[in-house]
């Protein structure tokens, strides 16, 4: 009987609405420029869904954590040569009715506003703009490739408060996950509540083709 009820509940679940496929794209520069400039990375359809828009407008900011790594082939094992990480925070200013986009690089040393946008579509356009990654291929004639990882999560209201205080220089970047201004239990409970609302942490990975510097 219990199995029949569970089966009926699963059947009654709403189908997923049609939407673009989230994807992370890594584009290499021209072969002659591999050691001069890094790849470009672009996240498409990662926060453009209606659910994320609803969460943003309800006061739950989104955090996009990018990580790009350069790997090179070795005799037996490949080696991680270098890496870079940065965050893009998106939140909705209910008073001004604008979406704000902030980019944080180098462990909080560089914080840049990427603009304020009156419409959701304009904000998405900014977030999905290709970004040049400050990682250049090694000049060695070894097999190399780039790997990109994107974590997207919705933050709680307290996390947003920490973000704003951090942007004003009042706190160390606890929102990176390194610090812990609140108790671990408190943060865990808040994150659990955020995820119960459907705003879980999501992960995307992409890899460039393998190349050898000419």
């Amino acid at each position: 009987m219990r199995r029949a009820v569970l089966f009926a509940v699963l059947l009654a679940a709403e189908p997923l609405p049609a939407q673009g496929q989230p994807r992370l794209e890594i584009t290499l520069p021209a072969p002659a420029a591999l050691t001069k400039e890094g790849p470009s990375i672009r996240a498409l359809d990662v926060i453009s869904d209606p659910e994320t828009q609803s969460l943003l407008q309800s006061g739950f900011p989104a955090r996009l954590h990018f990580r790009v790594e350069l790997w090179s082939g070795g005799r037996v094992f490949d080696a991680l040569r270098s890496r870079t990480e940065w965050d893009v925070f998106v939140y909705y200013d209910a008073l001004g009715k604008k979406y704000r986009v902030v980019r944080v690089e180098r462990d909080g040393e560089a914080i840049m506003s990427a603009g304020q946008f009156g419409s959701f579509a304009d904000m998405i356009q900014e977030v999905e703009r290709p970004m040049r990654v400050p990682l250049r291929a090694s000049g060695e004639r070894s097999r190399q490739y780039f790997i990109g990882v994107l974590d997207v999560e919705s933050l709680s209201l307290t996390d947003l408060d920490e973000v704003e205080r951090w942007l004003r220089g009042e706190l160390q970047p606890a929102v990176r996950g390194d610090g812990n201004p609140g108790t671990a239990l408190g943060r865990g409970i808040r994150r659990m509540l955020v995820r119960l609302l459907g705003a879980e942490r999501r992960n995307l990975q992409a890899r460039s083709r393998t190349f050898v510097v000419p």
């Binding site: 997923l16 790997w71 490949d78 080696a79 991680l80 890496r83 459907g198 999501r202 995307l204």
Partner: protein
Amino acid sequence: MTGFIGNHLDATVSWADERWATPTARDPWSLFRDNQDWRPNPILDAGRFHLIRAGVRYDTRNDATDPWSGWYITGEYEYGVGRITEYGPTSRAIRDINPTGRNAFDRVLVDMRRYNRISAEGQLNLRLVAGGWLSGDDLPLQRRFSLGSAGSLPGYDFRQIRPGTDFLTCAGARVEGTPGGPRSPEGIPAQCERFALGQVEYRGEIGAGLFGLLDQERRRRRFGWGRSAEWVAFADVGRGWLVGPRVSDLQYGAGSFPGLHTFRADVGVGLRLDDLGLYLAKSVTDPRTPLNFFARLQPRF
């Protein structure tokens, strides 16, 4: 209390005052076989202990949740002193009973993992885990070890006692006062005082479009989210043992290590679909044990 040294090394010291007892048996609802009883809880030692622990962690992994490169090494030393008010039942001659219940022991645990990327699509990972009694009185039951099941030797069932020497739970001769009875008390407690386990695993990407299984699974998954599907091949080898005067292949001196020919081993294959892993494992040292299937929501290690 934890101290950090650079980005990769940290050390922790802790003190705890713990009261030990056997957890009460419960009967939670289960999706399948709900009308069957759960495995009985083994009766453990009851008492109160003060525990001092010192641990160190060295972590150079490129990613904590999905590492492809780096070391992850943890070591922990534990000193415990207390009094056991009620001894849990064990197999015969497993340990000495102190009439006063006083017990002071120390033990150490080391877990060493190495993640290696061997190509853009594949990785070869290694793990060595070992630990156990160091000095002092016999370890309380709460501090003993067993191997078998998904986390260690998945080719063997959880708390499985094979005929002959029990290399997995260290059940010895029949339980005290039960001539002809079982070799281990009800609930099959872990009785090993030391253990060693080695694991190796190869993971290779299959591709994001594997049968469309990643495209739509649950309400909260989005199209295309997650990692590519991976196939996994693995092997494990390990065993537990007791410490004391040499007794067959079950008990060894404090400075001795069992021969590798006494270790149990298994091999297996699996499929990882983002966070969900589905695996098959088979013992190669006990061929008559059946094939095991298990699922995990995290990598094996």
